[in-house]
């Protein structure tokens, strides 16, 4: 049996899946101050009467990191940065930054050595200022981490109690400011996240649950909970990822869909293109910080079922309906204070819940201002809400089409897909889905169990894994961005490096991915890995080929575990 639990902003949803079918579901309110309690409540409720030894797998998607950051429950982090030449570091706005001399170039060659005396002084200063968390990030540290490693040695020597994250271990991708932000957030949340994981483990033991426990990442993949401690930032935004995987599980294979999760205040959108959830080309934004965290391309718009509907008069005296962005508790028909799109949906008979009389009353208050009938007004409100969602969907597709391209084939690639389905997940404002679908000329799908689609997504998501291999045959080294090690090519069985071909490089990538999958305990998925990009550059110096640079990206993309029996459950 599979258990999936999604801790959302207002409710925590859980499902229990047996033989590829939903067996039981549960919904409990989320207590923001105690996410662990909400999570365990949902777990207990959904797994009642089932002996724990029958559980095969438990997956959580949780906002714990997002909450920690939003609530400022983070540790102060000293940033030891080695920026080298380029953008003036004075323009960065990271708190607690200490800039150090030293520089690497784009191929990891040392341009300027560290000034060890300066490092020692800075570390002493950090200690005096009472920092117990630090992040060490150097520009091009992923190409040569020796400066980061040396600073770490000095830090450990002079300030042994300090917890530290190294930039090249946090992310091997290009983009120094994002690496700084990601390392900083990882360092700031690391300890509390570790506590959270310990508590979960304890709670599992108390319940005699021996099944492996996973955390859902923002890219829709599962990560063993022990491993997640190394990558806390990867777990941000796992909510939208859960909904997207849920929609994937509940819709026909290979189709293009837009996933619409209409909540009270906001609506979350995600895209599934020909059966593959769209990953954002850059990392996620968390608060004010752009990070390297791989995440689905999701968009959140400030309109939901409980958004306040108002009438505003323009300067020229025209009365206009506005929707949101504020929310004042539930809809009027659910006992709230203000008219909302949900009330309009009720008046039109598009939803079952709510008090019809109160809904009518709410819509009438708007209709009076406009001098129109209640039905007309309700239609207008629903139409406007759907239009806002439709516009955001179109913008998402346009943005995807307009993503920069750096290769000829990427420019030639025709990106002209349009949604076949509009999939409603989350159960909020269901009646809107068909209106949005009509505007997009797509088929509305509200799957069975759509109200716990997010929990289903968590339950059936498979692990994801990426591997970015870079080989520089002139320098006779290779590095895996995700591993943060620069390794000699002599350790491989490749004979003549300078005659190395793409096939050999790709074989090495596949082997390394297999090893990495082993370490993550997900070797059964290693065969699912695909090459996302493979490039070779001749390094020519003085008119002769001096070596080759290979850039190979492999990934186990987001998808569903084999146990899930997929079919259209609309």
């Amino acid at each position: 049996m599979l258990i999936g639990i999604d801790v959302g902003g207002t409710t925590t949803d859980a499902v229990l899946i047996r033989n590829g079918e939903v067996y039981n579901t549960a919904k409990v309110p989320t207590e923001p101050a105690n996410l662990l309690k909400s999570l365990l409540n949902a777990l207990d409720k959904v797994s009642r009467e089932v002996p724990p030894e029958q559980f095969e797998r438990v997956v959580f998607s949780t906002t714990v990191i997002t909450n920690l950051i939003a609530e400022g429950k983070t540790d102060r982090v000293a940033l030891l940065l080695v920026p080298g030449p380029g953008v003036n570091p004075a323009s960065y706005t990271f708190p607690g930054s200490f800039y150090l001399k030293g520089a690497m170039d784009y191929r990891g060659r040392e341009i300027q050595p560290l000034d060890e005396a300066e490092v020692r002084e800075t570390v002493s200063l950090i200690r005096e200022q009472g920092f117990f968390s630090a992040a060490i990030v150097s520009k091009f540290g992923q190409r040569n981490p020796s400066h980061e490693l040396r600073i770490e040695e000095i830090l450990m020597e002079l300030h042994p109690g300090c917890k530290v994250k190294l930039g090249h271990k946090v992310s091997g991708k290009l983009n120094f400011p994002r690496r700084v932000a990601t390392s900083m957030l990882a360092s700031a949340t690391g300890e509390r996240y570790q506590q959270f994981v310990e508590e979960i483990k304890k709670a599992m033991e108390e319940r005699n649950i021996r099944a492996p426990v996973y955390i859902l990442k923002a890219d829709g993949g599962t990560l063993p909970i022990e491993k997640s401690v190394e990558f806390p930032v990867e777990t941000i935004f796992s909510g939208p990822a859960a909904s997207t995987i849920g929609a994937l599980a509940l819709t026909p294979e290979g189709q293009t869909s837009v996933v619409v999760d209409i909540g009270g205040t906001t609506t979350d959108l995600a895209l599934i293109l020909s059966g593959k959830p769209l990953i954002g080309s850059k990392g996620a934004k968390l608060g004010n910080f752009l990070t390297h965290a791989r995440a689905f391309a999701v968009r959140s718009i400030a309109v939901g079922g409980d958004s306040i509907v108002r009438v505003r008069e323009t300067d020229s005296g025209i009365r206009m309906v506005t929707i949101g962005p504020e929310r004042a508790g539930p809809s009027y028909c659910m006992g709230g204070e203000e008219p909302t799109p949900t009330d309009a949906l009720k008046v039109l008979g598009l939803i079952d819940i709510g008090d019809p009389e109160r809904a009518k009353e709410a819509v009438a208050s708007i209709a009076v201002c406009l001098g129109k009938s209640e039905t007309e007004t309700a239609s207008r409100i629903v139409d406007m809400t759907a239009e806002m969602i439709e516009k955001a969907v179109r913008e998402m597709f346009l943005e995807w089409e307009q993503e920069p391209a750096y290769r000829i084939w990427e420019v030639l690639q025709k990106k002209k897909e349009r949604p076949e389905n509009v999939v409603g997940i989350g159960g909020g404002a269901k009646g809107l889905i068909s209106v949005v679908a009509e505007k997009l000329s797509a088929k509305p799908i509200i799957p069975e169990y759509s109200e716990v689609g997010n929990a289903i997504g968590a339950a059936v998501a498979r692990p994801t894994l990426t591997l970015n291999l870079r080989i520089d045959t002139q320098q006779k080294v290779y590095s895996v961005a995700e591993e943060g090690e620069v390794v000699s090519l002599n350790s491989t069985n490749i004979g003549n490096f300078n005659k190395m071909r793409s096939e050999e490089a790709e074989t090495l990538a596949a082997k390394l991915l297999g090893e990495r999958a082993d370490r993550f305990g997900i070797s059964e998925y290693a065969d699912e890995a695909e090459i996302a990009n493979s490039e070779v550059f001749n390094v020519v110096e003085g008119w002769f080929t001096a070596g080759r640079i290979f850039d190979i990206s492999m990934q186990i993309p987001a998808g569903l575990i084999n146990e899930w029996k997929r079919r259209e459950k609309a």
Binding site: P85, V87, R107, P404, V487, F537, V540
Partner: protein, 585 residues
């Protein structure tokens, strides 16, 4: 096996030493450092006040709410105003002095006289067909297209290969430049064949000369032109390859790594689509921008300024001061040959004392930088001493509306830093920390002798500029209805020798149509073509006469292909003599 810290250092250090040693012989650099540093004052430190785009913006700012026809009228009026100004220029009699002797006999046609610039009665009609540039005052962003064409090379070890912008990619991505709120990244697109046909006679056809990467590089410029004209960005940088500034009107093959001319395609697109008339191109590549010069040689509306390493010491061996433009466009081509070894100081001196004052006087609506990066002190193909800081300053002072990458082949030691510097400078950001690993301020000093050469060049070209209208008048008096010149063009990449006769109609009402009779010798194949080009602002009579020239040649069996390039009607034809087929683009 994992390497220890020390081993990683050793492994990487070896490569670094090897690399710096290979890319440039250092010894040469020290030679000229003994001379004292001369200070110079930039005559015109205030920059030329506004370019045309900004003028539009100012005009439009007041009329934001107005309807389309009224806006069009504003544009028309503005163009007329700028023409009146140019007519009012002083007309002092003066001879232009040729300081350098050209190696190419055929290019000797200076010392000319002036004529009034053509005032086109059809301007209203033309402007109405086009789109109006949008207000640009609201935006602070710099548009950027980075198209490194990681899957294209001329040949595996050619300087124009996949690797060229690899380290630039690493640097600008690692810096996070694409995330900056001041930068807007755009996606490239393919240019249409029409966009190419508006500039070139491609032999045997466009497909053969403009392959997919060429179409993308040119198309990227057009995407940014649209973004600029729509007011989405304040300026833009097309960081694209392959380059284009050596490609001339007739394209038989690749010369100087170029097949089609990105800047020229951009200029004609801006004129056709947005009704822009006066454009200045400043070519900052180390090589003379002979292709761009040739394309606009007879066009008084396009000011072409190129500074480059003296043509006696570097490909393509042209770009001397006596190349001043065709009879009706004399003085609108300004060449600034620089002594080898010229450092930041010298180039910035020329910029401040010559380029900026001329731009201020010409009052272009747009300024384009044909931005080569091979003036760099480590470039393997040239001998100049420009630095990343120098390039950033140059772009800050020049403030081009658009920059388009040209050459630059010190792909490790220069390009990552130069491009970071240019992007930051164009975006108005702090570039003071951008520097090459081995650069030390003051390492290159301008030689006193070279400084004197620069002073003479500046004096001569300022004089030419001042007297341009009189030069045109004198020269026109020398010619009858037609002006002819013969040219030899060598395609170094494709080993083609081309012989051309270019004929310009000396029309009293417009700049006159041009015909080109071109004969290309390859190893065994000879190709002869005939092309007719009608300028965008041509008069009706020239348009009709040119059409007749085209039709006449359709029965001349000595030509394999005959071309009609009617920029006024935006119609482009190519006739294949063998198959008797005419293609329209």
């Amino acid at each position: 096996m994992k390497l220890g810290l020390g081993k990683i250092k050793d492994a990487l250090k070896g490569g670094a030493e090897k690399n710096t040693g290979m890319e440039k012989e250092k010894g040469e650099k020290e030679k000229n450092q003994k001379k004292g540093k001369e200070n110079y004052r930039i005559e015109n430190s205030g920059r030329y006040p506004e370019n045309g785009a900004k003028n539009h913006a100012e005009i439009d700012a007041e009329n934001n709410e107005e309807t389309e026809p009224e806006r069009l009228e504003e544009v028309t009026m503005k163009i007329k105003t700028s023409e009146q100004q140019s007519e009012d220029k002083p007309r002092n009699e003066s001879k232009c002095e040729s300081k350098h002797e050209s190696k190419h006999e055929s290019k000797r046609e200076s010392k000319q006289e002036l004529v009034n610039e053509p005032v086109n009665g059809l301007l209203n009609g033309l402007v109405k067909e086009t789109m109006v540039p949008a207000n640009q005052t609201g935006t602070r962003k710099t548009g950027l297209i980075f198209f490194p064409a990681f899957d294209w090379a001329i040949s595996p070890t050619h300087p124009e290969r996949e690797e060229r912008l690899l380290y630039t990619r690493d640097q600008i991505f690692e810096e996070g430049l694409m995330d900056l709120p001041q930068i807007a990244e755009y996606k490239p697109r393919l240019a249409d064949y029409r966009d190419i046909a508006r500039v070139h006679f491609c032999v045997p056809d466009i497909k053969a000369q403009a392959t997919t990467p060429h179409l993308i590089a040119a198309g990227s410029c057009l995407v940014l032109a649209d973004a600029l004209m729509r007011g989405e960005v304040k300026n833009a940088f097309a960081l694209v390859r392959p380059p284009g500034h050596h490609a001339m009107t007739v394209a038989h093959g690749n010369r100087g790594f170029c097949n089609i001319n990105n800047e020229a395609i951009l200029v004609e697109y801006l004129r056709k689509k947005y009704g822009i008339r006066r454009i200045a191109i400043v070519d900052t590549d180390v090589h003379h921008g002979d292709g761009t010069q040739e394309i606009f040689y007879n066009d008084p509306d396009v000011l072409f300024i190129s500074f480059h390493q003296d043509g006696r010491t570097l490909y393509p061996g042209s770009g001397f001061m006596n190349e001043l433009g065709g009879p009706k466009a004399l003085g609108r081509t300004i060449n600034i040959p620089l002594p080898p070894g010229t450092p930041d100081e010298g180039i910035l001196y020329v910029l401040g004392a010559l380029v900026l004052p001329i731009l201020e006087d010409f009052k272009p609506e747009l300024v384009l930088n044909s931005a080569g990066q091979d003036n760099h002190y480590t470039d393997p193909l040239a001998n100049m001493r420009f630095s990343a800081q120098g390039y950033a300053k140059l772009n800050e002072k020049l403030a081009p509306d658009m920059a388009v990458l040209e050459g630059g082949y010190a792909i490790q030691s220069a390009l990552p830093y130069v491009n970071t510097g240019i992007i930051l400078a164009m975006a108005g950001l702090d570039y003071s920390c951008v520097k090459e690993p081995d650069f030390k301020p003051g390492m290159f000093v301008q030689a006193a002798r070279d400084r004197q050469i620069l002073e003479e060049v500046i004096a001569t070209q300022l004089e030419n500029w001042k007297n341009r209208d009189r030069l045109v008048e004198t020269e026109i008096a020398k010619h009858g209805d037609f002006y002819r010149r013969k040219k030899q063009i060598f395609y170094d990449t494709d080993m083609i020798q081309e012989f051309q006769e270019e004929t310009v109609r000396m029309c009293p009402d417009c700049q006159g149509y041009v015909t080109i009779d071109s004969h290309a010798h390859r190893s065994i194949n000879d190709t002869r073509i005939f092309g007719v080009s009608i300028p965008i602002y041509a008069c009706d009579r020239c348009q009709a006469e040119a059409g007749e020239e085209y039709r006449k040649r359709l029965n001349s069996p000595e030509y394999e292909y005959v071309y009609l390039q009617d920029k006024k009607a935006d119609e482009y034809r190519e006739y294949n003599m063998r198959t008797k087929q005419e293609i329209s683009y």
